[in-house]
């Protein structure tokens, strides 16, 4: 729990141990709960996705290289030293990119697995949820006085010409969703009263 004054809130990057207004605290708690819930959903989505791609997807030991996704980077260890608001800003940007990528993945899966309505519904929901979590993060950042820097550009659509690269891209996007939502949960946890921060 952070105990500080409003002046501290104007400079949230200086110290995360600032005092928060009750409504901000509630918003952080709410967003943190959302992130925790979406972490579970993201894990379920990944499992569901793998089930519908055929072998060797889902086989033990199947670990395709983590190819870079245009417009989206993986949460890296280099972010560890960043202040929490900066990390949240990165989380929000990644979630926005993920929402667009998930829509792309859903479209490809609609061609490959049109008879897997649950997977398609989960992909669609995941896009909306990522967007909602990103918006909630933006709200928190704005409340902390660290609003996002301008409109985020839409990530370029990855060139996934074939079905197999599309499957790999979907796998990668689902994995990134899980990683980013999980990291968002951790970052918000540092702001939550009683959290690790």
């Amino acid at each position: 729990m952070l105990n500080s004054t409003n002046s501290h809130r104007k400079d949230p990057q200086a110290d995360s141990s600032v005092s928060l207004l009750p409504h901000l605290e509630a918003k952080i708690r709410q967003t943190h709960s959302l992130a925790r819930l979406l972490t579970k959903y993201a894990e379920q989505l990944l499992q569901e996705y793998v089930q519908h791609q055929g072998d060797p997807f889902g086989q033990p030991g199947f670990s395709p290289p983590r190819l870079p996704v245009a417009g989206l980077s993986a949460p890296g260890p280099s972010h560890a030293g960043l202040p929490v608001p900066e990390r949240l800003r990165l989380d929000a940007a990644a979630l926005a990119a993920l929402a667009a990528l998930l829509e792309l993945v859903r479209r490809r899966q609609a061609e490959l697995n049109p008879r897997a309505p649950r997977l398609l519904r989960r992909l669609e929901d995941a896009g909306r949820q990522a967007r909602a979590l990103g918006a909630a993060l933006d709200t928190v950042l704005a409340a902390l006085g660290a609003a996002a820097r301008g409109p985020r550009p839409e990530p370029p659509a990855p060139a996934a010409a074939g079905a197999f690269p599309a499957k790999l891209l979907g796998l990668r996007v689902c994995g990134l969703l899980r990683d980013w939502v999980s990291r968002t949960e951790g970052d918000l946890g540092q702001l939550v009263p009683g959290g690790p921060g």
Partner: protein
């Protein structure tokens, strides 16, 4: 090619001659060889070879002579007429094709000294036809399909004649140019240059390896010379220009299930592993690091395809293949219309293709007469799911010829259908369905039907259903209209009845019904009752009251809710009306005099609309003297009554019936039967099996009813539920008289057919479990079929024997339960008398003889047994001082001590008990407690008498805990002369009330072996000890009435001390008993019951 050579002989050779033949031959050979050597050395042209590639010019070549320089000019002459010559600096020359036959050709090197001219003979047959080298105009590739396209010119213009041409095409792969395919392709030359096209699909994707191609050809024409293949064309090749990315080919290919396919990977780094799905595949190495895998007989893919993966050290490459099937022929193609506006065609896709998404089957429905079509771009349908397409109807067109085409990446199929759409009308579900009353038996139905049916008639079906009846369909034809409401009338309905209506429609040329409309319930209006109620009457027993009964009208006759009934009574003198009787009362009692007048009773039912016709019945009963009560048995809850036709009966017969067990008046129900009937079946849910009913058949005449038959019967007979009560009226030594009572009708449950009487020897305990139905030979059975018989004497029995008697009643429904009792016959008195008198006579005789002998020998007996004893007092030697007994201390000898008397005299007091006679002795102690507590279902009658028992207990705390009681029981035999049949429970005698002989002390009786030691201790302390071990006494007395009770542990007979014994004590004046001939007294007891002296 044969070349004929000739040469000019040198002059020096011509001058030489030989004489002998042999010499000449040798010389000739030698000369020839020398000439040959000269020719080589000096140079003469030969080896002329001619070819043609167009059959018009020959290209003849020869070998230059040895030593001839490059600039040698040759003159070649064809020595034909006219002769023509050519000069050439080369060793070949083109000449026009020569005519068939031999031609001499001279080749003469000009300006060359020392070289001779060669003469050669050439024939067309020696000329070779070698087509010119072909040239590939173009070689291209479609990489998506791995197909090579070849284009070349056959240069047919140079051949004037038509000729067949065989083209050979060879395909080589990889940089090492491995031959992978060689195919032949036939064409014809038609005098013109023709460009030919040929394509070939590679099993290996073209991207993965360079492919080379070359062609040659062979002209198969009428040419006498030698024909040869042309030279191979220059090789053309196709290669993929790889981009920087590693890729796997083919990408997302759709193939037929079961086919073979090769995948290749263009990679810059070494491929470590390749697999399809889970299966690893051996690698086929291509140029560079490229590899391929070959899959045979591929199996059907999942929706998302089959993954093919190549794994390098740093990357994972892959592709997806979709193995499926071409579309099946669309099945069950049907087209119909619901509204004559649009045609709906439905079909079944048949076998699934396993291809989905963009690879799914698409359908195209076209109509040939109009040329119109509609497309169906697949929604995802699962197996056996029906597809449908809407085709808008065309004005003034009724016949449609549909073709449904299905296609996917693997092929196509189609189905056709020719249909007259006016005969394929299946209207929509009727809506706005309503019902309205017309009258009590008719309603109107209205409904709406969307669609343009102006050109057809509609066939509609109305389903009419009322409660508890089947649905009645009625078909109605109406003229079709456009999106209109329709109205029809439905009649022949019942008044005041709830109907459920619904409707469906089709075209008059029936194809399919529409779905049913919603149901509408409707209650028709009331009408007057159509009939009077079914009426019957009964006179009261005193004949003063007439009770009129009527049944409620059935709903189809009441035509409404019956509110009340009017009952009137008319005679010749008067008409009497009762007040209105409200429903649901269905009887009325009228005070009438049965003997005074005959009356006609009239009953009218009324509802809200009106009154029913009157129902009339006469009160008079015509007597019938010849009436007998008959019996009848029904079947399955019904009974059939038949009668002879009686012409006197002018109106209906009436059958009424009642339950006999019910009180008066006897009326359960009645039924009227038409007068022309001779039988009726009475059936009622109220009938129960095993219940006796009384049926009365009345015949109806004008003046009244006459009872024709009276029948008692059962719907089904059952076995009696009780056994007849029976008693033993008399018992003798060899017979028993039994008497029984009737069973009540309600417990008989059928017509009594007889009794079964069983008897056997046996006592209560031993025979209680025996079954009389087991057919044992020792059981005697008497079947009494005369049901009026109520007694039975059983003879030829044994005296003083216990018999078990059982009586059962039976009907046609089965055997009833049994009732049993035990009876003991009396003993034979003659044998008893003999048994008493003989021992008495013998004893008297022995006593008399003994007395006589003793009297006669009394002196001898005295001398022997009682000699005189001398008196010691008279002996001086034995003189003692007096008063030795008075406490003197001086010693004395032979002094008898008279001061300690040692004997006990027992005085027996004679009881004044009555005389005792006995046939059976029962000791309450001998009865085991378990037995006495058992409730016997049978009436076990034991003819016996137990006198009061006096029981005295000697306080002995040590023994009370270990032993039972000791008793001596006196049984009055006298009472046994009065045989009694008593239930078993009455035979229990309370031992506390017993009185009689009392033993001087109680002897403890050991019950448990483990208590022997305690008994021994007891023996040491007790004042009186029996002479023998009590346990060793014989418990069975052979002449005891209860000798069969060997299980008793506490009963002892014949004890010398009368302890724990059961004895008959015969009073001294037994002979004075008025009935002293009774059994149960044994001769042995006479001796044993003497006092123990």
């Amino acid at each position: 090619m044969d070349i004929y050579l000739s040469w000019r002989r040198p002059s020096w050779m011509r001058m030489r001659t030989t004489s002998g033949v042999r010499w000449l031959l040798a010389t000739f050979i030698l000369l020839y060889l020398m000439n040959q050597v000269n020719s080589q050395e000096r140079g003469a042209s030969h080896h002329l070879k001619c070819t043609t590639n167009n059959l018009q010019t020959w290209d003849c070549s020869w070998r230059a002579p040895l030593g001839a320089g490059r600039g040698t000019l040759y003159e070649v002459c064809v020595e034909d007429r006219p002769r023509f010559c050519y000069q050439s600096e080369k060793t070949n020359i083109n000449i026009p094709a020569l005519s068939p036959g031999d031609h001499e050709i001279t080749v003469n090197p000009l300006h060359e000294f020392g070289y001779s001219m060669s003469k050669l003979i050439i024939n067309e047959k020696d000329v070779s036809l070698i087509p010119s080298t072909p040239e590939i105009l173009n070689l291209s590739a479609d990489f998506s399909t791995s197909t090579l396209y070849l284009k070349w010119n056959d240069k047919g213009s140079i051949f004037s004649n038509h000729s067949n041409v065989i083209w050979e095409i060879k395909i080589l792969r990889k940089e090492s140019m491995e031959l992978i395919k060689s195919v032949r392709y036939n064409t014809t030359l038609n005098g013109k240059d023709t460009v030919h096209h040929w394509s070939w699909t590679s099993d290996l994707p073209l991207e993965c390896a360079v492919h080379h191609l070359a062609i040659r050809y062979y002209i198969d024409c009428l040419f006498p010379g030698h024909k040869e293949w042309s030279a191979w064309s220059p090789v053309k090749n196709i290669s993929w220009i790889p981009d920087s990315q590693n890729r796997v080919y083919p990408q997302d290919k759709v193939i037929l299930v079961g086919s073979d396919i090769t995948f290749c990977c263009v990679s810059q780094e070494k491929v470590l592993l390749a697999q399809i799905g889970q299966k690893k595949c051996p690698l086929i190495h291509l140029d560079g690091e490229n590899v391929a895998i070959k899959i045979h007989n591929i199996s059907v893919s999942a929706n998302s395809g089959t993954n093919v993966v190549f794994i390098t050290e740093r990357d994972m490459l892959g592709t997806v293949v979709f193995a499926g099937y071409p579309p099946d022929r669309p099945q069950k193609l049907t087209c119909e219309t619901h509204d004559l506006k649009a045609i709906v065609c439905r079909w079944n896709p048949g076998r699934p293709t396993a291809l989905v998404g963009p690879r799914n089957t698409s359908y195209n429905l076209s109509e040939s007469f109009s040329g119109k079509y509609v497309r169906f771009q697949g929604v995802e349908a699962f197996m056996n799911e029906s597809y449908q397409l809407l085709f808008q109807m065309l004005p003034n067109q009724e016949i449609y010829n549909f073709t449904l085409n299905a296609h996917n990446p693997l092929g196509w199929s189609e189905s056709t259908l020719l249909v007259n759409i006016t005969e394929r009308v299946s209207p929509h579900t009727p809506t706005s369905f309503r019902v309205k009353d017309i009258n009590s038996t008719a309603v109107t139905l209205s409904w709406h039907l969307p669609g343009n049916f102006t050109k057809i008639n509609l066939l509609c079906q109305v389903a009419i259903k009322k409660a508890n009846s089947i649905q009645e369909p009625r078909n109605i034809t109406v003229k079709g209209a456009e999106s209109s409401s329709y109205l029809v009338a439905v009649n022949k309905l019942n008044p005041y009845t709830i109907y459920t209506f619904r409707i469906r429609c089709s075209s008059e040329t029936f194809w399919k019904w529409s779905k049913w409309s919603i149901e509408k319930q409707h209650l028709t209006t009331e009408a007057i009752p159509s009939k009077g109620p079914d009426t019957w009457r009964e006179w009261s027993s005193d004949g003063k009251n007439l009770i009129v009964y009527w049944k409620p009208l059935p709903i189809n006759e009441a035509n409404g809710k019956i509110l009340s009934y009017n009952v009137s009574c008319s005679s010749d003198e008067e008409t009497q009306s009762l007040s209105e009787i409200l429903d649901p009362q269905h009887k009325a009692e009228i005070q009438l005099d049965k003997d005074k007048n005959d009356y006609i009773i009239s009953v009218v039912a009324k509802n809200s609309v009106g009154s029913s016709p009157p129902s009339k019945i006469a009160s008079m009963e015509i007597p019938n003297d010849n009436l007998k009560v008959e019996q009848a048995v029904g079947m399955e809850k019904r009974i059939v009554l038949t009668w002879h036709p009686d012409p006197n009966m002018t109106c209906d017969y009436v059958v009424k019936w009642c339950n006999l067990s019910h009180s008066e008046p006897c009326l359960m129900d009645w039924r009227k039967v038409p007068s022309n009937s001779t039988e009726t079946v009475i059936e009622s849910d109220q009938f129960l099996p095993g219940v006796r009913y009384h049926f009365f058949l009345y015949g109806c005449r004008n003046q009244g009813y006459q009872l024709l038959r009276s029948i008692v019967g059962y719907i089904e007979e059952l076995a009696p539920i009780v056994a007849p009560n029976f008693t033993v009226e008399d018992t003798s030594a060899d017979s028993i008289l039994v008497k029984w009572e009737n069973i009540p009708v309600d417990q008989l449950r059928g017509f009594l057919r007889g009794y079964l009487f069983y008897f056997e020897k046996g006592e209560r305990d031993t025979s209680k479990m025996r079954d009389f139905d087991s057919g044992r030979s020792d059981i005697k059975v008497k079947n009494i079929t005369d049901i009026s018989q109520k007694t039975l004497r059983i003879a030829d029995l044994q005296g003083k024997t216990s018999y078990r008697l059982v009586l059962r009643a039976y009907t046609d429904g089965g055997m009833g339960p049994e009732k049993s009792m035990f009876v003991v016959t009396k003993e034979n008195s003659v044998g008893l008398i003999i048994a008493i008198l003989i021992p008495v006579a013998v004893a008297v005789l022995v006593g008399v003889v003994t007395s006589i002998l003793c009297y006669r020998k009394r002196e001898w007996i005295k001398e022997t047994f009682y000699p005189d004893i001398p008196n010691p007092e008279n002996c001086k030697a034995l003189q003692f001082q007096k008063s030795v007994c008075e406490g003197t201390s001086a010693p004395k000898t032979l002094e008898m001590n008279p001061c300690t008397p040692n004997n006990v005299e027992v005085l027996e007091t004679r009881s004044t008990l009555p005389k005792i006679e006995d046939t059976e002795i029962i000791s309450p102690i001998a009865e085991r407690p378990e037995e006495s507590s058992d409730a016997e279902p049978e009436n076990h009658v034991v003819v016996s008498y137990c006198p009061p028992i006096i029981e005295e207990e000697i306080p002995n705390p040590a023994a009370d805990e270990a032993v039972g009681t000791s008793q001596v029981i006196y049984i009055d035999i006298q009472s046994m002369y009065q045989p009694q049949a008593k239930p078993d429970e009455e035979q229990e005698v309370d031992p506390a009330v017993g009185a009689g002989y009392k033993p001087q002390m109680r002897l403890p009786i050991q019950l448990a072996v483990g208590e022997t030691a305690a008994e021994e201790d007891l023996d040491k302390t007790a004042g009186y000890r029996p002479q023998a071990n009590v346990n060793a006494w014989n418990l069975v007395s052979p002449d005891s009435p209860r000798s069969t009770d060997s299980n008793s542990e506490i009963v002892s007979f014949g004890s010398p001390c009368s302890i724990n014994s059961r004895q008959f004590l015969i009073p001294p004046r037994d002979e004075d008993s008025p009935k002293s001939n009774g059994g149960g007294w044994s001769f042995t007891n006479f001796f044993q019951n003497k006092p123990n002296d």
